[in-house]
C-alpha cells in the first residue's frame, strides 16, 4: 500500500492536468467522478474512452458540455467492451497502414457495475477472451444509480434499493455481491486489480500498470455514491476507506494469475463501522450484521489463503 503517513505529501507530485473536467454534472461527493479523475490522471492525454450508458456518461456529456479532455465515445449500455475492441482493432490496422499515430494509445472501456456485471458481462467476457489490448474500468457504485438506485448483481447483501427494498418480509438485497473481479480473473488476463479512490496513489499505480500492460487489463474500482448509499456527501472518501479497512472491498492485484493483496489486514475494522453511516443498511438488525460480518470474514480469509498460496508458488 502506498498510503503510509510518509506519503501524505505525495499528492503534490501527481500530474496537475485534469482530463475529467470540473463542471461535470456529478452529484455532490460523487465517487465515480473521482474515480474517473484519478484514472485519467494516470492515463494521460493519449487515451480514448469508450463509455457505457450510465452515471458517468450522463454526468459528463450533456451537449454542448463535455467533461472529457480526451477523445470519448458513447455507443450503448451493454457494449463498452465491444466498442473498445473495435477502437483497438481499428487503431491497430490503421497504424499498420500508416494512417494513425505510432505512439501507444490507452484504449479504455468505462462502465458502471450494471454495465459490467449485468448487461455488459457478455461483451466484456468476449473482449477479454479475444485478448484485445485495452483496459476495462468498472466503477462500482453497487446499484443502478443513474436510473434511481435499482439493485444490480453487484449490490451487496442487505442493501436496500428501490427494487430490492427492505420491508416487513425482506432484508433488502437478498443475494451476495457478484464477485466480478474473480470472474474476470478466470479469463486469465495479464493484469487486474481492485481499487478505491480513497486510496488514490494505490489506484493510480494500478491504473498505470494496467495501461502499460499489453493485452486486456481490468480495474474494478469501488465508487462510493452518497445519493444511492444514502450517506452525507462529505463521507464519500471515508466510506471507501471503511469498505477497504473492514474487508468488505479488499484491495488486491492479480498479475499473470497470481493474487497479491495490496494491504494485508490480519485484523480488520468491524463491518458495522462501514454499514452504520449508510442509509441503505440502516434497517439491518444485529443478527443481520453478524451474518454480514461472518461472510466478510469468510471471504477475506479465502483471499488471504489464495494470496499465500500464490506467493508461495
Amino acid at each position: 500500500m502506498a498510503e503510509t503517513p510518509g506519503d501524505l505529501f505525495l499528492p503534490r507530485l501527481l500530474p496537475p492536468q485534469e482530463f475529467f473536467a470540473e463542471g461535470n454534472r456529478g452529484c455532490q461527493g460523487c465517487g465515480a467522478a473521482l474515480v474517473m479523475r484519478q484514472v485519467l490522471k494516470a492515463a494521460g492525454p493519449d487515451t480514448i474512452v469508450c463509455n457505457a450508458t450510465g452515471c458517468m456518461e450522463i454526468i459528463s456529456s450533456p451537449y454542448p458540455e463535455t467533461a472529457w479532455r480526451i477523445p470519448w465515445i458513447h455507443v450503448a449500455f451493454e457494449n463498452a467492451a465491444a466498442v473498445a475492441a473495435g477502437v483497438e482493432s481499428g487503431i491497430k490496422v490503421l497504424r499498420r497502414k500508416g494512417r494513425y499515430h505510432d505512439r501507444r494509445i490507452n484504449v479504455v472501456a468505462v462502465a458502471g457495475d450494471g454495465g459490467t456485471a449485468d448487461i455488459g458481462l457478455q461483451a466484456l467476457s468476449g473482449a477479454l477472451e479475444r485478448y484485445h489490448d485495452f483496459t476495462y474500468v468498472c466503477y462500482d457504485n453497487e446499484a443502478y444509480m443513474n436510473t434511481g438506485i435499482q439493485r444490480s448483481s453487484s449490490t451487496p447483501y442487505g442493501a436496500s434499493t428501490t427494487t430490492s427494498p427492505s420491508g416487513r418480509e425482506s432484508i433488502g438485497q437478498k443475494t451476495q455481491k457478484k464477485n466480478l473481479p474473480m470472474i474476470v480473473a478466470a479469463h486469465e488476463i495479464p493484469y487486474l486489480a481492485t481499487a478505491c479512490p480513497s486510496f488514490p496513489l494505490d489506484l493510480m499505480d494500478k491504473a498505470r500498470r494496467a495501461f502499460q500492460t499489453v493485452g486486456p487489463t481490468y480495474l474494478h474500482i469501488l465508487a462510493p455514491c452518497p445519493t444511492g448509499w444514502r450517506h452525507a456527501s462529505d463521507l464519500a472518501i471515508e466510506m471507501g476507506r471503511l469498505a477497504v479497512e473492514t474487508g468488505a472491498f479488499p484491495l488486491y492485484e492479480v498479475v499473470d494469475g497470481k493474487l497479491k493483496l495490496s494491504m494485508k489486514m490480519e485484523t480488520r475494522k468491524p463491518i458495522i463501522d462501514y454499514l452504520k453511516p449508510q442509509g441503505r443498511f440502516r434497517h439491518l438488525k444485529e443478527d443481520d450484521i453478524k451474518e454480514i460480518q461472518r461472510r466478510v470474514d469468510e471471504n477475506y480469509e479465502k483471499l488471504l489463503r489464495r494470496a499465500e498460496l500464490d506467493e508461495g508458488g
Binding site: P45, D46, T47, I48, C50, E57, I58, S61, P62, Y63, P64, T66, W68, R69, I70, P71, W72, I73, H74, V75, A76, E78, N79, A81, A82, V83, A84, A85, G86, V87, E88, S89, G90, I91, K92, V93, L94, R96, K97, R99, Y100, H101, I105, Q122, A123, S125, G126, A127, E129, R130
Partner: protein, 391 residues
C-alpha cells in the same frame, strides 16, 4: 476489365470486401451469411486481405465493434442475417445516429418463431427505419458491385451513413453464378482509402455520442434524415461513376418490359428472376405485364417509383415479409404512400409470398397478375393476400 468466374455469391461479396480493402471486419456466424465471413477470415489468414478480423461473441458486439472501428477512421464491414440483425437492432440506430459509414451485407432470412434458417425479407424490413442506406441485389454480380459501391456511398462526406446490401438467403447467397471480378487497380481508383472527417484522436479530442436534450434532439434527427435523403443524389453519382469505370449501369428501380405494361409487378431481391420468366410467359400470351424491381429501398426512390408506374393500370407488389396486423406488405405500404398524392394513379394490390424459404413460382406470379386483373375489373377486396397459403 476484370475476370469472369463462376463463383458462389457469398464469396463474391467477400471478394468485394477484399477489393474494397476493408480495414476491420467484425462478425458473428449465422446461417445463411456464414460463407461471407468464413471466406473473409481465410483471406485475412492467408494475408490476402490486410485487415483486423474480430470474431466477436455476438452480433450486438459485431455492430458495436464496427462502430468503434469506424470511429477511429477504419473502413469497416460486417455481415449477418435474421436473428443476428435483430440482435443488432439497437446498435444499427446508433451507427447511423453517430454517422459512421459501416457497410453490412445481410443474407436475408426469416425471423423466429418458429425458427427458420430459410430466406425471406422480414429481417431487413424490421430495420427499415434504422437510418441505413438499404440496397437489394438480384444477382451475384449486383451483390459484388453494390458492396463496393456501398463503401463509396457511405463514406462520401455529404452522406456519412452506414449502408446495407441485402442478398436473399440461399436463393442468392448460396448459388453459383458467373461473376466478373474487377481488377484491384480499377477498384482502388474507384474507391480510394476512407478519409474520415472526425475521428477519435488524442490530438483533437472530441466527444462522440453525447446526451441530446429535447432542445436539440429533433434538429440532430432532421440533420440525419437530410443526409439520408441527400444520399440519393450521391448514390446516382456513384452509379454513374461506376458505369464509367466498370461498364455496368445501376438505377434505383430496374424496369423489365414495362413499356405499354398495364399490370406491373413490384418487388425486390432474387425472386425477381422468377418474376421475369413469368413476365415473359405472360407476354407471350398477350398479357401486358412488366416488372419494376426496387434496388434502392432507403432512401426510398419516390420519383423513380412514381415515374415507373406512369401509364400502368395496376401495380401488384410482392413482399417477402408480413407486417402483422397492418397493411401486410411493407414494400406495398411504401409504394401506396408514394402514389397517394398523384391525381392519376394505378390500383395497387398487395401480396405476401416467399416467407421462410418458400419458393415463389412462375405460377404464383401468374396468379398474382390474374388476381390483380380481377381487382381491376371488379374492384378491391381484402387489404392483401398471402400467396400459396393453405386454407
Amino acid at each position: 476489365m476484370g475476370e469472369r468466374v463462376g463463383l458462389e455469391v457469398s464469396l463474391a461479396v467477400s471478394e468485394a470486401v477484399k477489393l474494397a480493402r476493408a480495414d476491420v471486419i467484425a462478425a458473428y456466424p449465422i446461417t445463411p451469411q456464414t460463407h461471407i465471413v468464413e471466406e473473409l477470415s481465410q483471406m485475412v489468414a492467408d494475408g490476402d486481405l490486410d485487415a483486423e478480423y474480430v470474431m466477436v461473441e455476438s452480433e450486438h458486439s459485431a455492430m458495436s465493434a464496427c462502430c468503434g472501428a469506424a470511429a477511429v477512421g477504419a473502413r469497416t464491414f460486417t455481415a449477418t442475417a435474421s436473428q443476428g440483425l435483430a440482435l443488432m437492432h439497437e446498435v444499427l440506430f446508433i451507427a447511423s445516429g453517430l454517422r459512421l459509414p459501416v457497410v453490412m451485407a445481410v443474407a436475408n432470412r426469416a425471423l423466429s418463431a418458429p425458427i427458420s434458417i430459410w430466406g425471406d425479407q422480414s429481417d431487413v424490413m424490421s430495420e427499415r427505419d434504422s437510418g441505413w442506406i438499404q440496397l437489394f441485389a438480384e444477382t451475384g454480380q449486383e451483390a459484388l458491385d453494390l458492396t463496393i459501391q456501398a463503401f463509396k456511398i457511405a463514406e462520401d462526406r455529404r452522406v456519412l451513413l452506414p449502408a446495407e446490401v441485402n442478398i436473399d438467403g440461399f436463393t442468392l447467397s448460396h448459388v453459383v453464378e458467373p461473376i466478373v471480378i474487377p481488377g484491384q487497380e480499377e477498384v482502388d481508383s474507384f474507391l480510394p482509402p476512407y478519409e474520415p472527417q472526425v475521428i477519435l484522436d488524442p490530438e483533437k479530442p472530441v466527444t462522440m455520442g453525447p446526451v441530446g436534450f429535447p432542445e436539440l434532439y429533433t434538429e440532430i434527427k432532421k440533420q440525419q434524415n437530410e443526409a439520408l435523403l441527400g444520399s440519393y443524389e450521391v448514390i446516382l453519382e456513384v452509379w454513374d461513376r461506376f458505369a464509367e469505370s466498370f461498364g455496368r449501369k445501376y438505377r434505383p428501380v430496374e424496369h423489365y418490359r414495362t413499356e405499354d405494361a398495364e399490370i406491373l409487378i413490384n418487388m425486390a431481391g432474387a425472386m425477381s428472376g422468377t418474376a421475369r420468366i413469368a413476365v415473359d410467359m405472360m407476354r407471350e400470351t398477350g398479357k401486358k405485364v412488366g416488372l419494376i424491381r426496387t434496388r434502392l429501398w432507403r432512401p426510398y426512390p419516390f420519383d423513380e417509383i412514381r415515374n415507373a408506374v406512369k401509364g400502368a393500370k395496376a401495380v401488384a407488389v410482392v413482399d417477402r415479409a408480413l407486417s402483422f396486423g397492418g397493411q401486410g406488405g411493407p414494400m406495398c405500404s411504401e409504394l401506396r404512400s408514394a402514389l397517394y398524392p398523384l391525381a392519376e394513379k394505378p390500383v395497387v394490390t398487395s401480396y405476401i409470398a416467399g416467407l421462410g424459404g418458400r419458393d415463389i413460382t412462375v405460377e404464383n406470379f401468374q396468379t398474382i397478375v390474374e388476381d390483380t386483373g380481377d381487382v381491376l375489373a371488379n374492384g378491391p377486396r381484402e387489404e392483401y393476400k398471402m400467396i400459396g397459403v393453405r386454407e
